[in-house]
Symmetry: C2
Subunit: 345 residues, 2 copies
């Protein structure tokens, strides 16, 4: 073990040079063994491996990155871990990254664009080869700028598709998801299909995309759009309850409800039961996101599923492509969704 370093918090750590000295060869030879480059007698090789084991040598990957200008590492950045959408995405990213020999590091940025920039700068500084960002609305210009200055970026579910050097975007097709959900309710013979949605104040532009799909499917089916059947509330369980109270108090209440997300759908389910309405007989119900609770409620909830694992894997593939062909510009990619029909409709 090497020199004293009293100011350091870390214990002195074994270096390649320590191993070389211990065996009595040059660092170059140890390096060759560590990197499996061959060109080394079996005898020296075994002695070196034994020394590595004995001393507990671990290569310093930062030193290596400094030379190679690559770390085989990618970053993943999202708002908050509490969001199940994000965690499943992350699991997909993790698996796909591993398959191509990359390690994923992961950081969250709860507080908006400034913090996001800070995290991305930190990741870049620590040498990640590229970053997948589950982006914060309002940070688009910033992200384009960072990509241009050398940090390859894949944006997942950003508001607008972005184009530029060193950047790619992929978005779940929320519009199509809403179309499918409403079309399914039409096929079930429903005529008065309500939409229980988020308050539109949010900066996340997902509600408008879903609502556009809702209107499109109604139009396709020749059903007139009726503003009274669109209820706005918080996108939570309580918000879902609130929407149902208002919708069921209408002179002509709905015979189906398409909810902005599953939490609202579950709130709607609870409130419908309380009001004595049967699901799906009196009111059919479709949620969005297909979170785990969908199969834990009675009746089990029909929902629009985004395969978040697959979305994560796709994002890794895009990033890899970006890293291999940095100079090609590429369009925004759309990610398909599917409708999972269960008992609530």
């Amino acid at each position: 073990v090497n020199r004293e370093r009293p100011t350091s918090v870390r214990r002195a750590v074994v270096t390649l040079a320590d191993v070389a000295a211990h065996v009595g060869v040059s660092p170059r030879t140890v390096s060759r063994v560590v990197n499996d480059q061959g060109g080394c007698s079996d005898e020296t090789r075994l002695r070196i491996l034994a020394a590595i084991d004995e001393l507990g040598y671990r290569p310093n990957l930062m030193a290596r990155s400094l030379l190679n200008n690559r770390s085989d590492t990618i970053g993943l950045v999202g708002r908050e871990l509490a969001d199940p959408f994000f965690t499943e995405l992350a699991d997909g990213v993790q698996r796909a990254a591993r398959r191509i020999g990359r390690t994923m590091f992961f950081a969250t940025t709860d507080e908006g664009p400034a913090r996001q920039r800070e995290i991305l700068t930190s990741l870049q500084g620590h040498g990640v080869d590229g970053v997948i960002v589950f982006s914060i609305p309002g940070s688009e210009a910033d992200l384009l700028h960072m990509a241009e200055f050398g940090l390859p970026l894949v944006l997942v579910n950003t508001n607008q598709p972005l184009e530029g050097p060193n950047i790619a975007t992929i978005q779940a097709d929320l519009h199509d998801g809403a179309v499918r959900a409403v079309q399914h309710l039409v096929e079930r013979g429903r005529k008065r299909i309500a939409f229980a949605t988020d308050r539109m104040t949010t900066v996340h532009q997902t509600a408008p995309r879903r609502q556009a799909g809702y209107r499109k499917a109604l139009a396709n089916a020749g059903i007139r759009y009726d503003e009274r059947l669109v209820a706005h509330a918080a996108n939570t369980v309580e918000g879902g309850r609130e929407c149902v109270r208002r919708l069921m108090a209408l002179p002509k209440p709905p015979d189906a409800i398409f909810a902005y997300n599953d939490l609202m759908a579950i709130g709607a389910l609870q409130e419908l039961r309380r009001l004595g309405a049967e699901v799906p007989d009196d009111v059919a119900l479709v949620g969005f996101d297909d979170i785990a609770i969908c199969t834990a409620v009675v009746p089990r909830l029909t929902s629009v599923r985004i395969d978040r694992n697959l979305l994560g894997e796709r994002a890794v593939a895009l990033l890899q492509d970006l890293l291999e062909h940095p100079d090609e510009s590429r369009g925004a990619e759309s990610f398909p969704v599917e409708l999972i029909v269960r008992e609530s409709s």
Copy 2:
């Protein structure tokens, strides 16, 4: 911008030397400005800052770490992101780390001890100052070994408390949580208190700790332990349903159920309703973990809460202490839990 490097996947990146050349000063001076060390005329300083902005210079943190032997970075390692327990812990870690000027990187290891070791080695190689591990059972010896070889480690909710150089553990007091839950049911006047628990086959030793608390609280209250009131099933919603079917079929069914976790409690709730039993009037119900759904079900679920955010913050404090005083050995720390009483009991 510097030299051509055709083999690199990364775009050529601006270095400190580039900035120095652009302004016409030595790298040393730029370094001083970047690190706010003073000792530089305001005029040069401003010119340097302008150049940094114009060229888009970002310090290479790996090079810096190589010199300092510290990165102000900590790692967090867990099984899978899908586990809400872990994500809330992570949010606490993230916030606490940030408060002391550290960046948290995060990695998952779904597949057991071998993979965990791989991830930890990678984190160490990338220069993290220490790691918080939400550990995998069976990896204890390995973790002790890694700590001894220079990677400071804090273990959260490990099976056994571990002691050794460079290592600390913290565990939620599951035993006390179970005692409180059952004591609460006793105070509510319940006499036949069942325990719906996990199959004990699991390597995670949490079920026995909860069961010991259950027995302890019964003994405290002078209630005889009755093996027939302990039902085992999968620790899922479906498992909870299964336990209730068996328990309510007993000659003398229970008047209260303490569940291994909230998922089982929610399954129990559904099945009790299906059987026509009122909660809490006929059967009182207490869960464990206090996951989000507890307040979304009707009646809202009483549960044992582990403040996972706080647990995460505590883990960071322990790690920081370990980094500042590497040579002190320390005991295992116990983390208190609380009972959140709601409508189900």
